[in-house]
Amino acid sequence: MVTVVHDNIEQTEAKMSARDVSVFYGSKKAIDEVSIDIPTEYVTAFIGPSGCGKSTFLRTLNRMNDTIPSARVEGDITLDGQDIYSPKLDVVQLRARVGMVFQKPNPFPKSIYDNIAYGPKIHGLAEGKDQLDDIVEKSLKRAGLWEEVKDRLQDSGTALSGGQQQRLCIARAIAVDPEVILMDEPCSALDPIATAKIEELIAELSGRFAIVIVTHSMQQAARVSQRTAFFHLGKMVEYGRTSDIFTNPHEKRTQDYITGRYG
């Protein structure tokens, strides 16, 4: 079965591209020969029923699957044409360029300031305290959190509300100035107001970073993304403009899923 790729999508230069990527957990195949290009200009959404492999595929893009001993990846994934699974590539560098935001907000049990400063410090991005202060302020501003926390930067990051924590995690990710940001259901633990704030933030960040977002909410995918990929049983079934996927899906399975017939 080959992925249906809509033919009306403009050719843009791919920031990341995957070719025939399969992922195994032990002997179990969780991702089956997926090929996709991820552009910088747009937000790409991965949708599909639970267990279809969205998170698994997302995690191959910054090699977070390396932390799972049984996981094995086949195929090619490149970032700016460079093979990210090549032994020459340092995974530390890769993850600085491809950041990740998780489903459950996971701020470190440190101060708000130290949460943001963590990445710049380990990557040596700031030369002195002043520069570090600048990065922290800029990242928090970009994440729309600055006004809320500027007077309590020394409070613990875990003392924030769930939505604030998630924006803190986004700020933390952009503090190292990545090129791609991967988000795995970033709003599933949040209420509608916090969700709206994150979606607004994604819209603001798009264009500057390539953003990939996994979501279970059709409305969210429709609101924030310009490209959508539908996954089913480890395969990528259909890929195209978000508007087309939602109004004019070519595949029956895609149609069934977005109209809520299963998943």
Binding site: M64, V92, R95, A96, F102, N106, F108, Y118, I122, A173
Partner: protein, 461 residues
């Protein structure tokens, strides 16, 4: 007649009550129009059985405590006892001999005077045995009858039985607590007696320790009871030297086991460490006294130290540290493992290396648990007796030189209690004051540590 036999008797009576009550309940069931009882027949049976066994058991406990005294009293009241020596050791010996022969524990008496008492003893024993049995049966009968008469078709036997069982469980859990309170009370009692003879100021702040069990007990020399050298020795060996060994090694092993070890390695190493924690401390004591202490002395000699002690604080502390490693390691292991995996993933996803993640995220997050583990380890180390008794000295030195001989609170407790002083001599009583201080310090350490751990658990749900 031993309490065991009374107990068997009680169980037999209980069984009889059980059977009778069950039969009765079945009879209710047959007679009642709809064949239903408010409780099952076995609950009626248990209700009666418990009403027999529990009062009897309580009686047996009381009886076995007072019966020997009653027997002796009645023997002393007999004419044959009139010409016993009035008081003291000799009189006790004769009584014991007569009792031994009367109960069959000894074949014949050594002391002719005891011979005359054997017969009165036999009489008294058999008389009180009979009384014991009679009262047992009587109590069983009264309890059983009372319970039996309350049985009715609509009697809520199950609720009663459950309440009784709950009371028994509560009593069982109280035993440990009450024992602790009892120990504390006796410690306090003896400590107060000690402080009646030696001022607490002298004891807590004096810097010379050298109680003399042979001196007069009436007017003790407070300046010989300064416990500071003991406290210092305890802290130096248990909280400083031992922890310098145990904290880094325990932490490193926990980090290795939780973060780096292959699951297969972990499956071997972790139980091995836990076995190490189960080694009797006296074995560590041998090791300290026979291997480590001489080795340290030889090393010190080679390094040019003149006349080093063969019972150095260093030897005891090092071995105690090794003993504590599994303890620190397993607490640290638990705390690090309790840090959510999301924290680790978050750090790795930022491009942190594994060691940066451990150093900057995992350990800070696990720190409260680790600190609590270390406090528990310290409280164990300072209460540890066997290693220091075997490897540390009894010389109370106030010194910061680890090669010197030092003593600890626990060593002195042992020394004072096994010394030749009489039991109400302040030298002996000082053991209780030392024990009391040790108890309070370890209690405080454990209390704080457990609270920290609890907070820590709550922080991660």
């Amino acid at each position: 007649m031993s309490p065991i036999i009374l107990l068997l008797l009680a169980l037999g009576l209980g069984l009889a009550g059980w059977l009778a009550a069950r039969a009765r309940a079945w009879a209710f069931r047959r007679e009642s129009p709809d064949g239903r009882l408010s409780s099952l027949p076995t609950y009626h049976a248990w209700y009666v059985a418990l009403w027999i066994v529990i009062p009897v058991a309580l009686f047996i406990v009381v009886w076995s405590a007072i019966a020997p005294g009653l027997v002796t009293q009645s023997v002393l009241a007999s004419p044959a006892a009139a010409d016993l020596p009035a008081f003291g050791f000799q009189r006790q010996t004769i009584l014991n001999e007569a009792r031994a022969v009367a109960t069959g524990a000894a074949r014949a008496v050594f002391n002719p005077q005891a011979q005359e008492l054997v017969e009165p003893y036999r009489d008294a024993l058999s008389r009180f045995n009979l009384i014991g049995i009679a009262v047992t049966v009587l109590i069983a009968f009264v309890g059983g009858t009372w319970a039996f008469l309350r049985l009715k078709p609509d009697f809520a036997a199950r609720n009663r039985v459950e309440r009784i069982v709950m009371a028994i469980l509560l009593a069982a859990s109280l035993v440990a607590i009450l024992t602790t309170i009892g120990i504390l009370a006796s410690l306090v009692f003896e400590t107060v007696r000690f402080f009646g003879m030696v001022s607490p100021i002298d004891f807590l702040f004096g810097t010379f320790w050298g109680p003399d069990p042979m001196s007069s007990a009436d007017n003790p020399d407070g300046s010989r009871y300064g416990a500071i050298p003991l406290f210092w020795g305890t802290i130096f060996i248990g909280a400083i030297i031992a922890m310098i060994v145990a904290i880094p090694l325990g932490m490193m092993s926990a980090i290795y086991l939780t973060q780096y070890a292959d699951p297969k390695v972990r499956a071997w190493v972790k139980p091995a460490l836990e076995i190490l924690a189960g080694v009797p401390t006296v074995v560590y004591g041998y090791f300290a006294a026979l291997t480590i202490a001489p080795a340290i002395r030889d090393l010190a000699l080679q390094a040019g130290v003149s006349n080093p002690s063969s019972e150095s604080a260093l030897a005891a502390g090092l071995v105690m540290g090794v003993m504590i490693i599994p303890f620190v390691s397993s607490m640290a292991d638990d705390s690090i493992a309790a840090v959510p995996g999301a924290m680790r993933d978050g750090s790795l996803a930022m491009g942190a290396t594994q060691s940066e993640t451990i150093k900057k995220v995992m350990i800070p997050a696990a720190l409260p648990g680790i600190v609590a583990g270390v406090m528990l380890a310290v409280s164990r180390a300072i209460g540890e007796t066997m290693i220091v008794v075997m490897a540390a000295s009894t010389a109370a030195n106030l010194s910061a030189n680890p090669l010197e001989a030092m003593t600890t609170v626990t060593v002195q407790i042992v020394a004072m209690l096994t010394g030749e002083g009489s039991f109400d001599h302040p030298a002996t009583l000082s053991a209780f004051a030392l024990g009391f201080v040790l108890f309070m310090v370890t209690l405080a350490l454990n209390f704080i540590a457990l609270r920290v751990v609890k907070r820590f658990r709550e922080a991660y749900e």
